[in-house]
């Protein structure tokens, strides 16, 4: 188990390094930040001097090496756009993104899984068919359109919810949270739904097809023969056996909830890391982009690690084998 975790951490660092190198070789295609950093009347000579000082004239591998050397010491540099330390800039935005992704994940799991179970148990019922049809919206409409539609209905027309932003927030230590004010919680609803809708559809359909599969198996028939209640059969036996693939997908999707928050955050002016990233791309703010990409890489790596560990908890067969070597192979 420990060996497994260690091996995964080693692999992960290699992945992160690769992400960083690819990122730096792409940065020259996002353009030159210097023209945006200086005033209109700055001479070309001064612009080039700044470029030279910032190391922008160096080849990509050299820039990458400088970045990694500084990052290893916990120094990500200053943002070209705001001249604030990148580490803090990102850290300040992380709570907003994590809270949004968390709420979206809760929405996905607590709505998607029951919907999947229901449509799996009663596949022919008209309400199942309706749910199936409606859930297609989540997959077929682009996120920004769903977001704008929700804003138009619930903010502009009905005035129930705010159209953008985080509302009032409360600081708990360095963490700025939405969960402690009414307006903060209200502000979470629309973006969380927008962000989760695609994943909701995915999870619902996955659970549904797994349930259909499991309900046909012998041990469910035996369970019925033993006279167990429907509740015990459906949730205790059937649902539990569908969980391994659901956890895999849900885990990967949590990573993409954080990564895809970019679009949702832009639509709702949600001050998270995704929005920061978009602002940085527009400005060619290389230090922020590099740190963001590494952070997202780190998230994915961590989520995958946790998913692997969860298998142990859910699937008793893996525990009895004792080893973890086979687990990493999904």
């Amino acid at each position: 188990m420990l060996a497994f975790i260690l091996r995964r951490i080693l692999q992960s660092s290699a992945v992160l390094l690769a992400v960083g190198l690819v990122a730096f070789s792409l940065f020259r295609y996002v353009g030159d930040p210097v023209n945006a950093m200086v005033g209109q009347d700055t001479t070309m000579e001064e612009r080039d001097a700044l470029r030279e000082k910032l190391g922008l004239n160096d080849p990509a591998p050299v820039q990458f090496f400088h970045f990694i050397a500084n990052a290893a010491r916990g120094n990500f540099g200053l943002s070209y756009r705001t001249s604030e330390p990148v580490g803090r800039l990102i850290l300040e935005r992380v709570p907003a993104t994590l809270e949004l992704s968390f709420c979206a994940a809760v929405f996905v799991l607590f709505v998607g899984v029951p919907m999947g179970v229901y449509t799996g148990l009663y596949p022919r019922h008209w309400s199942s068919r309706l749910l199936q049809a409606v859930s297609l919206i989540g997959i077929s409409l682009p996120t920004f359109l769903i977001g704008i539609l929700l804003i138009l209905v619930f903010a502009v027309t009905l005035h129930w919810l705010p159209s953008f932003g985080r509302g009032d927030t409360v600081k708990v230590g360095w963490w700025v949270t939405n969960f402690l004010t009414v307006s903060g919680l209200k502000a979470l609803i629309l973006p969380a739904i927008t962000l989760g809708l695609f994943q909701l559809t995915l999870i619902m359909r996955l659970v549904r097809s797994e349930m259909l599969e499991v309900m046909r198996t012998e041990y469910i028939k035996f369970a019925r023969a033993r006279g167990l209640t429907n509740r015990a059969i459906n949730f205790g036996h059937a649902l539990k056996n569908t969980l391994v693939p659901v956890i895999t997908v849900a885990g990967l999707q949590l990573g993409s909830l954080i990564a895809f928050a970019v679009v949702t955050e832009t639509v709702f002016a949600w001050p998270g890391v995704g929005q920061l990233f978009i602002q940085s791309v527009q400005f060619s703010d290389i230090p922020v982009m590099a740190a963001y990409l590494l952070l997202i890489g780190l998230f994915f790596v961590l989520v995958n690690l946790i998913v692997d560990l969860l298998y142990f908890a859910v699937d008793p067969r893996l525990r009895s084998q004792g080893g973890g070597a086979r687990v990493g192979g999904h």
């Binding site: 001479t43 700044l50 604030e84 953008f164 009414v182 832009t266 002016a269």
Partner: protein, 537 residues
Amino acid sequence: MHFSLRHSVALAALACAGFGFISSADAKTFKWANSGDVSSMDPYARQETFLLTFNSNIYDPLIRRDKDLKLEPALATKWGQTDPTTWFFDIRPGVKFHDGTPLTADDVVFSLNRANGPGSNMGSNFVSVKEIKKVGDLRVEVTTKYPDPLLADKWAALGMMSKAWAEKNNALNSADMTKNEENFATRNAMGTGPFMLKERRAGEKTILVANPNWWDKPVHNLTEVIFTPVANPATRVAALKAGDIDMTYEVPPADTESLKRDANIKVLEGPETRVVFLGFDQERPELLESNVKGKNPFKDKKVREAIHRSIDVDAIKRTVMRGQSFPTNLMVAPGINGYMKDLDKRPALLKPEEAKKMLADAGYPNGFETGMDCPNDRYVNDEKICQAVVAMLAKIGIKVNLRAQTRNLYFAKILRKADLSPGDTSFYMLGWSPAQTYDVHNVFEALIQTPNKTTKKGQFNAGGYSNPALDKLADAMEQETDKAKRDAMIKEATKLYVDDFAYVPLHQQAVVWAARKNVDLVQPADNSFPLRFVTVK
């Protein structure tokens, strides 16, 4: 996960009970949004209209601009020249910084030196300056290397910062991007302005409160101002309609009509001081991207004239700009000193056959092919304007291959290089406003004079237009203090570039703002937004 949800709901319920927010009836909170955040609280961090004007709500300048962009006294009650190379500024007595300390000549000298110091982006305002010194508690004297009649105009954007505060917080200079050090003044502020910085959360929101001890009598009736950057234009429009914000700027042209129909909203439109224009490579013996070899068609005035007079700016206004542009034939806009109204007439449009004949006379009976560069996220509808130009020139036999790209790539390509060699372009679009001086000389110096490494003129003359007679006039007007003589020079120089068809000026884009009906505000032509004029009913 289930536990934490229940947990947080319980906490939230607690919070509802505990944190009741009370708002008093006469507190006027003004909420507004823009597409991007102000990048720093440091007034010298960047020479950029949005940063300068946002921070001028906190930092008063010595001299400020009124609603019509005319200079008026702010922290300086009097200023002027005692001789051609000496300026004086008399500091307003009794002014206090937001922390209660008095403003003195020391603060002014410190601020000016800081603006001219390392890390600051304002250095180009100090090119002529030799020395800045205190000559009394409330008087500052500035000596210049040569007569500089525009010094006061240049400094109208510079905010004054507390010296004691900067010393205490180790913010003696602006943040230096090349050193990895944080600067206190990036997030905090200490000026004398009508508003005080209450909270700064970069990229999220910035909260200002009214300064009760401001030296001037406030026109505004605000107690609090909340600024939020909202990048997505559709969200900004929705937020305004929902009443979540009171005002927004940079309204997308496509949404203007629907906002005008909303009874709760008013739309303000005015011309911006920036002129958007097209330029030609008139420098290289052969164009970079053309089928004409051995010569450069854009060096020929006839060719430039045929193109100029085939571009229908009124059609661009009608279709691409949806009425939101102000066509022009000059490189400066009304409101800028040196704008010559009687010269601002576009020559008559040519019929395609007339233009073709003109091209044939110049030696291009079958037209020719050229590349064109255009930004797609810098000016209003920039790419669409270029597409319209491509279509208009196709009618006269010029095949234009358009390359539109994002500003960070675009400017790196078309601007002149560090050694002032020409930019990599044949035909390009640029916008310019003399935002420092509000004077035409800046346009001559930056865009129209011959590029010269030694004198540093013509930095942004990407195509290398050159007219020695104009160069002389522009140099002379820089130091001419007699207004009548100077105006005559400006007129003559303007005629020269117009008759040469040096550039194709297109239009000033409209500044479009939208606000709730109960908000009164002033919209200056330089696209600045002074909060001191805002009232909420």
